[in-house]
């Protein structure tokens, strides 16, 4: 083989930034957007924005949906979509706050929420993987049914966490180093999600299943089982989120998590994950989510009129993504 040619090709390949580095560069756009928002905050509300308590408040606000976003990132990288997240969280919160469950104390309540979430995810996953339902439809059905069930169980009432189970609420009120416990839980879930996605066979196979399911199957991966597990994982995250929302609101309610599906998916996509699957990062999703949360926070601090907020929000989304797009060329849904 002629050496020069090989060298040139090697050079060609080497000249290309490897996937991971590119991935980080892609986050640059998001970081820039985030930085701009921070600057806006500092300029418009110097006395309120950069306070520790405001930062904590931003993170607390982001925590619930953040946990859900981690699960959604897996599902979307795996080529699917989960519209049921908010409803499943609501159902888990209601189930965990029924008097029957509350009788067993906070631990059982937490486990109950997690089991209900995971169970709902398994059902969606089974329908998609083995029942061959389109994910959009299967999880839409789950959304509708879970909300209905939550309303039924709660008789459409908001269910208070009983005083004897206040330990659960402590997650929101107890602070370690000034930061409420639930923010730590959020951080932990993000970290675990990152590790699973990047360092385990499960994570790497998720990319394969989403990127090219036929190739994954031919490589000997049990695509169906994996798909089902992805939705179970998303359900698990919804269960954890249910614990957080119970802590924050001291209640279980069928109305919790309304429209979370849109917010979670939007965060994931702004974070650079393609709806077509096979690509994406947890970090990107979380940055996407923080951008959303920061926008809301800035609006609150500045007391903008709602209609103007909505208009501004639309524009900011476009700009944030345009910033990020600079580094991307792929087309997707």
């Amino acid at each position: 083989m002629s050496e020069p040619t090989t060298d040139r090709r090697a050079a060609g390949v080497a000249a290309l930034a490897p996937a991971r580095r590119l991935g980080e560069m892609r986050h640059l756009g998001l970081l820039v957007a985030l930085a701009i928002l921070v600057v806006i905050g500092l300029v418009t509300r110097p006395e309120n924005f950069a306070t520790a308590s405001n930062l904590v408040s931003i993170l607390s606000l982001a925590a619930t949906i953040g946990v859900i976003t981690v699960g959604a990132t897996f599902v979307i990288i795996g080529g699917g979509i989960d519209l049921s997240v908010g409803a499943v969280m609501a159902l888990a919160s209601v189930w965990a706050t029924t008097l029957a469950t509350q009788a067993y104390g906070p631990w059982v309540m937490a486990i109950c929420a997690i089991l209900v979430g995971t169970g709902a995810g398994l059902v969606s996953g089974w329908l998609i993987a083995y029942g061959r339902l389109v994910p959009f439809i299967a999880t839409l059905a789950m959304l509708v049914a879970a909300r209905g069930l939550a309303q039924r169980m709660s008789d459409r009432r908001t269910q208070l966490v009983q005083p004897e189970n206040a330990a659960l609420v402590d997650l929101s009120t107890t602070r370690v180093l000034g930061v409420p416990l639930l923010v730590y839980i959020f951080a932990l879930v993000v970290a675990l999600g990152w590790v699973v996605l990047n360092r385990t066979t499960f994570g790497r196979r998720t990319y394969a299943v989403g990127g090219n399911p036929e190739a994954a199957r031919l490589a000997g991966i049990d695509v169906r089982r994996h798909t089902m597990l992805l939705y179970a994982l998303s359900g698990l995250c919804c269960g954890i989120a249910a614990i957080l929302i119970m802590a924050r609101t001291t209640t279980g309610s069928s109305t919790h998590g309304d429209l979370y599906e849109l917010d979670a998916i939007a965060a994931v996509i702004i974070g650079g994950t393609l709806l077509t699957g096979g690509r994406g990062t947890i970090i990107g999703s979380i940055l996407g989510l923080l951008i959303f949360t920061l926008i809301t926070n800035l609006f609150i601090l500045n007391g903008l009129d709602t209609s103007d907020q909505l208009i501004a929000k639309g524009l900011i989304i476009v700009v944030a993504v345009l910033l990020q797009r600079r580094n991307l060329k792929e087309r997707s849904t």
Binding site: M1, V13, G211, L218, R279
Partner: protein
């Protein structure tokens, strides 16, 4: 080692395999031959556990087996390189190679081990320059093919099936592939090898099984000694001259295409040439020499500096203008770049000339179907039903449909990138005739092929490319294969 008897596989409406027999011995290279759509890929998918046969038995290493899924086949020791590149674009080279059998502890991937093992396999394949951490989606088709091979080698397989592994490879790469195959067979590994290039079969094969219309028509022929005419007539059921139509007799008209100083930094530089009406100009070169990119730049699908003149006028901006002005491109990767897999053969054929079938945007579907039918018959696209989804056609037949697209709509200049990739011997002869016929009708043709004989046999004039530059231009008649190979590999200008 492997004995297959009476395999039947039925698809909705097609009996793809209709009683196939095959026996493969340890340490041999067993070649599968057959026309496009004969059932070769389907057969190996049955072996690989990707399809379930309706009837028949498979005996592997003395035991009757029935791989229910690819995992089963891999566990049995059967590794497969599929015809359609089945890699995951978003993952790295190493991750692709070890997909499904990652070196891992408690579910955690041992990335160092994977990287090291990947490097070893790649080096063994002579491609140490492909970095295990590179993202597969950014590799060239040839490099992807190498990764596919690396994956097959990474399994400790007793039987390796290769479905047209050389289709995306150039001459030197094929030699490399053969070296590996010889190493494998020396260790007692059996190889099932599929290719439409008879000369490869002769070089590497031990025995040949011929499939036709889903049936075995000949078993265990000697790969080296069986006369070509016999093989071809077994495959096609008739006698096909595996030759090029006679050169000459054509007169060239006005210059249709003039390319001046076309440059795309890092890909090709300062390329100038012209194509006249009725002339076939061939681009020869190694994979990676920038031929596809030149075609794309001429077509307006890739940005480059320099001038492209069509009929003496600057070509319009972009592909839309190029097509409107009478260009057509049959791209290299048909699945990714040319086909609408969910659509019918007809819709695929007429895609490039829709305005010609419409009045005020309203489609004349009758005429569309009639034209598609005419072209299907002309190119012998099988099955002969233009209303079928093109997804259900074999690779070679899909390729013919792509070509058919540009036989419509009064093209002046056709850019053909590897037009016979994956096309069988019989159909290839037909395609050659069609290309000649086009030229005879005054169409200019710019042709890229990795098969030097094809370039020399078809083209009137040849440009030899090396590392993005034209190092030779001359009459095809004055060149021979040896000289061209010498130029493209060693850079020795004639």
């Amino acid at each position: 080692m492997l004995v297959i008897k009476g395999i039947v596989k039925q698809f909705p409406g097609v009996r793809a395999l209709d009683g196939v027999d095959l026996d493969v011995r340890a340490g041999e290279v067993h070649c599968l031959l057959g026309q496009n759509g004969a059932g070769k890929s389907t057969l190996i998918k049955v072996l690989a556990g990707a399809h379930q046969p309706d009837e028949g038995t498979i005996v592997f290493n003395g035991e009757q087996v029935r791989p229910a899924s690819p995992i089963d086949a891999i566990r049995l020791g059967i590794a497969t390189i599929y015809q359609e590149l089945d890699l995951v674009d978003g993952l790295s080279v190493a991750e692709n190679i070890f997909l499904g059998h990652e070196p891992a502890k408690l579910g955690f991937v041992n990335r160092a081990a994977a990287g090291k093992a990947a490097r070893e396999v790649l080096e063994r394949l002579g491609h140490g320059e492909i970095r295990p951490s590179a993202e597969v989606g950014r590799l060239s088709p040839a490099a992807k093919q190498v990764v596919s091979m690396a994956r097959a080698l990474s399994h400790d397989a007793r039987l390796i099936i290769m479905d047209e592994p050389s289709a995306a490879l150039a001459h030197d790469e094929v030699a490399n592939l053969f070296r590996i195959i010889r190493e494998l067979t020396a260790q007692g590994v059996a190889v099932v090898y599929i290719s439409h290039r008879l000369e490869e079969i002769r070089e590497i094969g031990d025995r040949v099984t011929v499939l036709k219309d889903g049936r075995t028509v000949a078993v265990g022929l000697a790969a080296r000694d069986t006369p070509t005419t016999q093989i071809v007539s077994l495959m096609t059921g008739r006698n096909v001259e595996y030759v090029f139509p006679p050169r000459g007799g054509r007169t060239f008209g006005e210059e249709v295409l003039r390319v001046e100083n076309l440059t795309a930094p890092g890909v090709f530089s300062d390329v100038s040439f012209s194509v006249r009406a009725g002339e076939i100009v061939g681009l020869a070169g190694l994979v990676g020499s920038g031929r596809s990119e030149i075609l794309e730049a001429v077509y307006g699908a890739r940005s480059a500096t320099g001038r492209v003149l069509l009929d003496g006028r600057p070509a319009g901006r972009g592909v839309v203008g190029a097509v409107r002005r009478g260009m057509g491109l049959a791209p290299e990767e048909r699945k990714a770049q040319a086909l609408l897999l969910d659509q019918s053969v007809t819709a695929n054929i007429t895609l490039g000339s829709l305005p010609g079938f419409a009045r005020f945007g309203w489609l004349d579907r009758k005429r569309e179907r009639a034209e598609a039918k005419r072209l299907s018959e002309m190119l012998d696209i099988r099955p002969p039903d233009p209303e079928r989804p093109i997804r259900t056609l074999s690779g070679g037949n899909q390729q013919k449909a792509v070509l058919a697209r540009w036989l419509l709509g009064g093209r002046k200049l056709l850019l053909l990138d590897e037009p016979t990739r994956g096309v069988d011997v019989g159909a290839r002869a037909e395609l050659y005739a069609v290309i000649h016929d086009l030229a005879e009708r005054g169409i200019g043709v710019l042709l890229v092929s990795s098969e030097v004989p094809e370039v020399l046999g078809l083209a009137d004039r040849v440009l030899v490319l090396r590392e993005g530059s034209v190092i030779h231009e001359g009459d095809a008649a004055e060149l021979d294969e040896h000289r061209v190979l010498d130029m493209i590999m060693n850079g020795r200008a004639a």
